[in-house]
């Protein structure tokens, strides 16, 4: 069964994007003879020797006159494996809005780099926008390799230049392909000139990149789009809620919470004209009936009582401005359309404007002009039900509409910071014991040790050794093992970056409580991101509790050789997407308290080293 893949392309005016698309369509037989004949004639009239494949995609008359692509154009082609929709967007600086438009729905963002020029501002801007719009996969085509004599060294340099920049973005699947769109090298056919390139040609990559886990199947969200009422002979008093599943999986019998009303009910049935469904998932369009007769209308969201979006009048968002006739400024009033809800909102604060590379913040900015991006706080007259855009592209996105012109003037992605979830009304309750009194009475001091490293590095083995030694010496210690946590406390989490961060946060919070209680909490967790490790450390620093970060530094080769659970083999076979070390990065700790591993002696020796470090902290 073929899948649908949405591809957004971006590139500068003359880095050959249209030619690349033309080549892809041509070589994949996605264009027809009469189209080809038409551009062959045009090329001839212009005195070009070879047929200009770029003419295939430059649709509008103005483009043919100016020789640039000025708007988003959609192209279609199919192979036996997939059907492709290409949103072809211009790279011309003033048309950032079109790039944002094309990328908003994309699975894959295709960025072109002119091999002669390398990474330029435009490249960085497109990469930043793709990252901002949460496009899960990025493909960098280093084009015009023929013009630099297929030079591998220059290609590698461009690659590392880009990676240095991309490290600061939220993109996790980046693929580089050296191509010549003009000659067709590595587009559909493997290049004979670049024998050193071991990856797949572009089309092959696009046919096989794994998009199955790009949707959110975890958090059930059903924005009610339309209420269907029917009074026919078969359905005398039918009332169903029509909509498109935004995320999560819905089943008959599921408990439901209706927002914003807060009423609860249960799914009676999920209907389509073909019959009832046992489950519905994104992006299915279905009709839901409820067990109870409660008031539900367009704009409401059906979710689960224990898994709900944020209900708020205040919206924090990264906004891309798209209107040339007006600018966004503080105090102005707009309509926001989010999911199936449209509300009035005022732009309260423009916190900062980002530069074109998305990395520097100008906090002095007072307005957002066309093609500018900034962080904006909105105050809405009615509540919205939102999720952070990184977890939910549907409930985390909105458009800004000018109430006087009715034009779509901006696009926003919602930022919900996890730590702000706590209601300001929740106040920490202090017990009667102070920490000093508790530790003195127990005759022990609590602490937390984090063991981080690749899967199979030996974290759990070492942590278990430390746990045993501590407990045998009469101290309270407890091992929080990553795998074990996932069976219980973190059983609702997957392996997306956000879930991993949440996994770490929970482990850190639990460890802090153990430490507070006087135990030594031992966390054995891959914990691949520096930011997450910093979070656990900050939790403990804030609480004034001792904390040790141990990097179990076992090389990837060694871990893969050991492969105690057979996970590397499965990851290599493509069965475990996002596996750390294989297709997801492990960021080496920059400042661990201890580095252990195969080079740090026997297991008992390493256990002793950890105990010493703990003693050192206690004193």
């Amino acid at each position: 069964m073929p899948e649908l893949l949405r591809l957004a392309t971006a590139g500068s005016v003359d880095d050959g994007k249209s030619t690349l698309i033309g080549r892809l369509l041509y070589d994949a037989k996605g264009i027809f003879e009469d189209q080809l004949e038409a551009i062959r004639r045009t090329s001839e009239e212009r005195g070009q020797v070879e047929t200009d494949l770029a003419l295939l995609t430059d649709g509008l008359r103005a483009e043919r006159e100016q020789g640039i692509t000025i708007d988003v154009a959609y192209r279609y082609f199919a192979t036996p494996k997939r059907k492709f929709i290409i949103a072809d967007t211009p790279g011309h600086a003033q048309y950032t809005r079109n790039m944002v438009t094309g990328a908003s729905n994309a699975h894959v963002s295709l960025i072109l780099i002119d091999a002669r020029k390398g990474v330029i501002e435009q490249t960085r801007r497109h990469a930043f926008l793709s990252s901002m719009l949460g496009v899960p996969h990025m493909v960098l085509c280093v084009n015009k390799m023929d013009l630099i004599d297929w030079d591998q060294e220059r290609y590698e340099r461009i690659k590392s230049d880009f990676m240095e920049f991309a490290a600061r973005l939220n993109v996790h699947d980046i693929t580089f392909i050296p191509v010549s769109a003009l000659r067709g090298d590595n587009v559909v056919q493997r290049s004979e000139h670049m024998w050193w390139y071991e990856g797949s040609p572009l089309l092959n990559h696009l046919e096989s990149v794994y998009i199955g886990s790009d949707e959110n199947f975890i958090d059930p969200r059903f924005p009610v789009q339309y209420v269907i009422r029917s009074q026919s002979a078969e359905n005398p008093d039918f009332r169903g809620y029509a909509g498109t599943v935004a995320s999560g999986v819905l089943r008959p019998g599921d408990d439901l919470l209706v927002l914003p009303s807060g009423m609860t009910s249960r799914i009676a049935s999920i209907l389509t004209p073909e019959g009832e469904l046992a489950e519905a998932f994104p992006p299915m369009a279905v009709v839901i009936t409820l067990e109870d007769d409660i008031a539900v209308s367009r704009g409401d969201v059906l979710c689960r009582p224990n898994n709900r979006p944020m209900l708020t009048h205040d919206l924090e968002a990264t906004v891309c401005w798209m209107d040339e006739r007006s600018a966004l400024s503080e105090g102005k009033s707009y309509f926001l359309k989010q999911s199936t809800r449209t509300v009035r909102a005022t732009a309260e604060t423009l916190q900062y404007r980002l530069d074109v590379n998305g990395l520097h913040r100008d906090e002095e900015a007072t307005a957002l002009e066309i093609n500018e991006i900034g962080r904006v706080s909105f105050r809405c007259t009615e509540p919205l039900m939102v999720d952070d855009y990184t977890t939910n592209r549907t409930t985390g996105s909105f458009i800004v509409i000018d109430p006087t012109t009715n034009a779509t003037v901006g696009a926003g992605v919602v930022r919900v910071i996890a730590t702000t979830h706590a209601s300001p009304n929740v106040v920490r309750h202090g017990g009667r014991l102070s920490r000093a009194e508790r530790f003195a009475a127990l005759g022990a001091q609590g602490a937390t040790v984090l063991f981080t490293g690749l899967s199979g590095a030996g974290k759990s083995t070492l942590a278990a050794g430390v746990e045993e030694a501590l407990v045998r010496s009469g101290r309270s210690a407890f091992l929080l093992d990553g795998d074990n946590l996932r069976h219980g406390l973190n059983g609702d989490l997957g392996f997306s970056d956000r879930d991993r961060t949440e996994n770490v946060r929970r482990a850190g919070e639990v460890a802090r409580m153990f430490a507070e209680a006087g135990s030594v909490a031992l966390i054995a967790l891959i914990c691949p991101f520096e930011e997450d490790r910093r979070l656990i450390r900050a939790l403990h620093d804030e609480a004034g509790l001792p904390y040790v970060e141990i990097f179990v530094d076992t090389s990837l080769e060694e871990c893969e050789r050991r492969d105690p659970k057979g996970l590397y083999a499965r990851a290599r076979a493509g069965q475990l997407p996002g596996f750390t070390g294989i297709d997801s990065d492990y960021e080496r700790p920059t400042d661990p308290d201890l580095v252990l591993g195969p080079d740090a002696g026997s297991l008992p020796e390493q256990v002793a080293t950890v105990l010493e470090a703990l003693d050192g902290l206690a004193r």
Partner: protein, 315 residues
């Protein structure tokens, strides 16, 4: 809707939550129909009896099931239609229970609102636009569904799914509203309207595969049949009450089918033995010519032909 129970079992069993490409296209089109019904007061659907409008009507029925379709359908009748298609149109409308409004080009000619080009070879293609705009104004329609697909033609490839028209029904390709995610801006002033294209992302092959999968009835002239035809401008034209051959255009009989259904005087057919939906789909999958390039004289006007007509308010 075509789901894939069982799936490919990858990624922790989540592979089973996958829609086929056709399932995803249908779901999106349904989303668009419901969005329009929720946000506009008086939508209408352009229904010619052609395959795209038939698919639109079919998807619309699914979008509002079990309730009936909450809007009327509109046909701009040039007076040059194939008889088979008009009969099919009436049958199809009767079966689905929607109300059909017919706007006749002839009425505008008779009333002197438009002037017919009577030179030899002239078609009524461009005359459809004033009649369409009149019907939209008379029906006070604020949203008009069209079956256009982006794969048909270069100007259409750039058109939005919600395509804004000013009070004169005109399209401004340089000033289109950005369209992001599945968020459609339906806001407009009185007198303005929005053309909505729910099948934007479908290709000709998708349409045929869908017709086949859903067993949708289409006009008989889409399937191969024996017909008296003649050659003109490299196209095969059918001999009908609307079109006669010139002296040097010999008439012969052969097996043909139509890939698009337009006016009988400007729609060519192709030689084909595909007399079942399966065979048609197979033929479309293998074809190397676009449907409009192959058989539509009206689209050959100039390279920018479609763009010019769309600006004026054409479909």
């Amino acid at each position: 809707m075509v789901a894939d129970p069982g799936g490919d079992g990858r990624a922790g069993g989540r592979g089973r939550y996958r829609l086929s490409d056709l399932g995803a296209l249908e779901a999106h089109s349904i989303h668009v129909f419901r969005e329009v019904a929720a946000e506009f007061e008086r939508p209408t659907l352009l229904f010619s009896g052609g395959k795209d409008s038939v698919v639109m009507l079919h998807v619309a029925r699914k979008a509002f099931w079990p309730a009936p379709i909450p809007f009327s359908v509109l046909h701009v009748d040039t007076g040059r239609n194939f008889t088979e298609v008009l009969e099919f149109r009436d049958r199809c409308v009767a079966a689905s229970g929607v109300r059909l409004v017919v706007a006749r080009v002839q009425d505008d000619i008779d009333a002197g609102r438009t002037v017919e080009d009577t030179s030899p070879g002239a078609t009524r293609n461009r005359l459809q636009t004033p009649t369409l705009l009149r019907a939209i104004a008379e029906g006070k329609h604020d949203a008009v569904f069209g079956g256009a697909r982006r794969d048909e033609e270069k100007a259409r490839a750039k058109e939005r799914i919600f395509s804004f028209r000013d009070e004169f029904g005109q399209w401004d390709p340089k000033n289109q509203r950005p369209e992001l995610w599945n968020l459609y801006n339906a806001r407009h002033r009185k007198g303005e309207h929005i053309r909505v294209f729910p099948l934007s992302n479908w290709t000709e092959l998708d349409v045929w595969n869908y017709i086949r999968a859903e067993r949708i009835d289409v006009p008989s002239i889409y399937l191969a049949h024996r017909r008296r035809v003649f050659q003109r401008d490299g196209m095969l034209m059918a001999l009908t009450e609307h079109l006669a051959p010139a002296g040097d255009e010999p008439v012969f009989e052969t097996m043909v089918r139509f890939r698009t259904v337009g006016d009988a005087d400007c729609t060519g057919c192709v030689e084909s033995m595909a007399d079942t939906l399966d065979l048609v789909a197979a033929e479309v999958a293998a074809t190397r010519l676009t449907e409009r390039g192959a058989t539509r004289a009206d689209d050959r006007i100039s390279e920018a032909g479609m763009e010019d007509r769309k600006r004026e308010g054409y479909f």
